[in-house]
Symmetry: C2
Amino acid sequence: MNANVTGQLARQDAIVPVSRHLSYIAQTAFERPTLVVDSQAVARQYAALAQGLGRARIHYAVKANPAPQILRRLTRMGANFDAASRAEIELCLAAGAKPAQITFGNTIKRPADIAFAHEIGITHFAADATAELEKLAQHAPGAHVCIRLLVEATGADWPLSRKFGCSAAMALSLMDEARDLGLEVSGLSFHVGSQTREPQMWADTLDQVAAVWKAAKDAGHGLSLLNIGGGFPASYGTEVMAPNQYAREVMELVNARFPDAAEIMAEPGRGLVAEAGAIAAEVLLVSRKDADDLHRWVYLDIGKFSGLAETMDEAIRYRITTDHGEAQTGPCILAGPSCDSADVLYEKQLYQLPLALKAGDRVVIHACGAYTSTYSTVGFNGFPPLDVVVI
Amino acid sequence: MNANVTGQLARQDAIVPVSRHLSYIAQTAFERPTLVVDSQAVARQYAALAQGLGRARIHYAVKANPAPQILRRLTRMGANFDAASRAEIELCLAAGAKPAQITFGNTIKRPADIAFAHEIGITHFAADATAELEKLAQHAPGAHVCIRLLVEATGADWPLSRKFGCSAAMALSLMDEARDLGLEVSGLSFHVGSQTREPQMWADTLDQVAAVWKAAKDAGHGLSLLNIGGGFPASYGTEVMAPNQYAREVMELVNARFPDAAEIMAEPGRGLVAEAGAIAAEVLLVSRKDADDLHRWVYLDIGKFSGLAETMDEAIRYRITTDHGEAQTGPCILAGPSCDSADVLYEKQLYQLPLALKAGDRVVIHACGAYTSTYSTVGFNGFPPLDVVVI
């Protein structure tokens, strides 16, 4: 495709007048905080990413939002899936996915889950440690294994810790061990960091991975699969590049470094579903701690423990709108409803909200399609988990 | 009671040979991470606190652990309850508590929850803002209201933010407003901070509250109820004072400052149930990121999102034991099983665990009776919420 077509697609995306989930929220009264996800928007985003990713296969990171309707919709579009546990594998199967479409990418797997996956015909697993390879050899003999590399920190908004992956030297020795254990070393995986806003931010990481890829090939491992993981950004208010253009630019960087990779897979999660959803919530209380306080406290009926866990350390700053339109605003500390002093959403950087805001008012929290419903607690303080409606 | 009796009780507590929940864990195979709570230990702790608290009434903070068996046991012992929501009120009622035994202490209440509570006969509510008083006047006319004070930071292990309470000046004006709205101003509440290890750490806070109490009386408010909240410590490995002695010393500080308070209530949560429970979990993987790494990574089948949320910022450091006894230990980073890089339990301060520890080994996480099961997510990454067994 040429740049002109790309541009058109991006503009079409941008001019959708009012999104379906926001219309639905505007027309609906909710008993409690509810995430509304537009499955058509997910489908559009999938199509745009697929277009940009070209030859790379999309494995949706189920953990971002495992709502059955989303999984079914993606299955019908031919998507593949990456699962973190047996329960997520079962959700994919229930949505109509075949085992061949599912990879088991968690590097920390329960032995019983490995055995289950192997038994039903899942063939691709990830590992970053000897003990994990031994589990795979025992419970999924002959399985294909991707070795996960630990890459240096990037400029992602939600950078990953060193929890996953191993050093380049360790990766090479794990490949030898995997071969000796009768496993099929298929390739390398890595994660550039969640919410990596510029394609160019992938370059350094890809260079690191390419060096290991070359060393592995030199050592006689016939690698065929490069798993570029996730990192595709969602817009939380600030502008991000159109998904097809972003993916295309990332793939240009990938193709330049891995011309010999027979298969490429990507695992978008947030980048696929975040913008397709919004949460309808309600103001429970607006107060000041003292008559002289310069800012207000605004308490919502949703908080850190009922869906907004990604406000941890104020990492993700959601855009919030009210029915007060362009009315004059003032600074607030925003907090959740629980009797827990840690349940404060934004305090270090105050949030601007209308001065007229009061208890009972509706608020809409935007771009909440990813990492909200599953992060909900089972009912801390007796507040129910986030309700989910997929339209 | 005299000091000698107190001392005896403390020693009796200490010499219980092996606690029931630990015996139960040792004799049981679990399919998944499971919290085992000894209801007899909860009962013993309740009796000890009640003995120390003397004339103060215990309202168990249900949010700490709302397991039905715990609520039933406490109901049978004559406990009262503090609820944070309608769902928690309903749990108390289901456990046999009468509405008169339940207070609704969340300062951020849904109007429908207030109406429900009022309708079934709950009469005591908390508030720290004008808008909340207005909700109470509308949905629970004539209700008794405690004004929650914001007190200055103390030395608690888990200090509270400024989320709850209001300034002294605001408290006094809220009392006037409450009276004008036809509500019954019953008294003051505050929270000294969770896990306040020394009784003496209450003194400053009590002085602050006493000054407001006096000012309110001088202004013509016939206060009768002082709610001293929670803050009663649990032992997470380091020694804490016996509960009856701790409570007695706190009450000495209270009685010296509030001789005219007709009623005193306390809301222990953590201090009542934490030590009565332990979690049985399993090691999923032990690895190093590089052959030269000086420490290991130990991944458990439970993490921040499935029960151990209080490891946030490494605030609560749980004691963890294994079946390796006194074997030689080495430093580890401890992490949970999810594909989430934030799911790391202890990293800044490395954890010492046996060098022989390996995948499949049992670990027991101690003093987990409070704030674990309810902080679990509904199933992040497909991992089920923490299972709870009360024996």
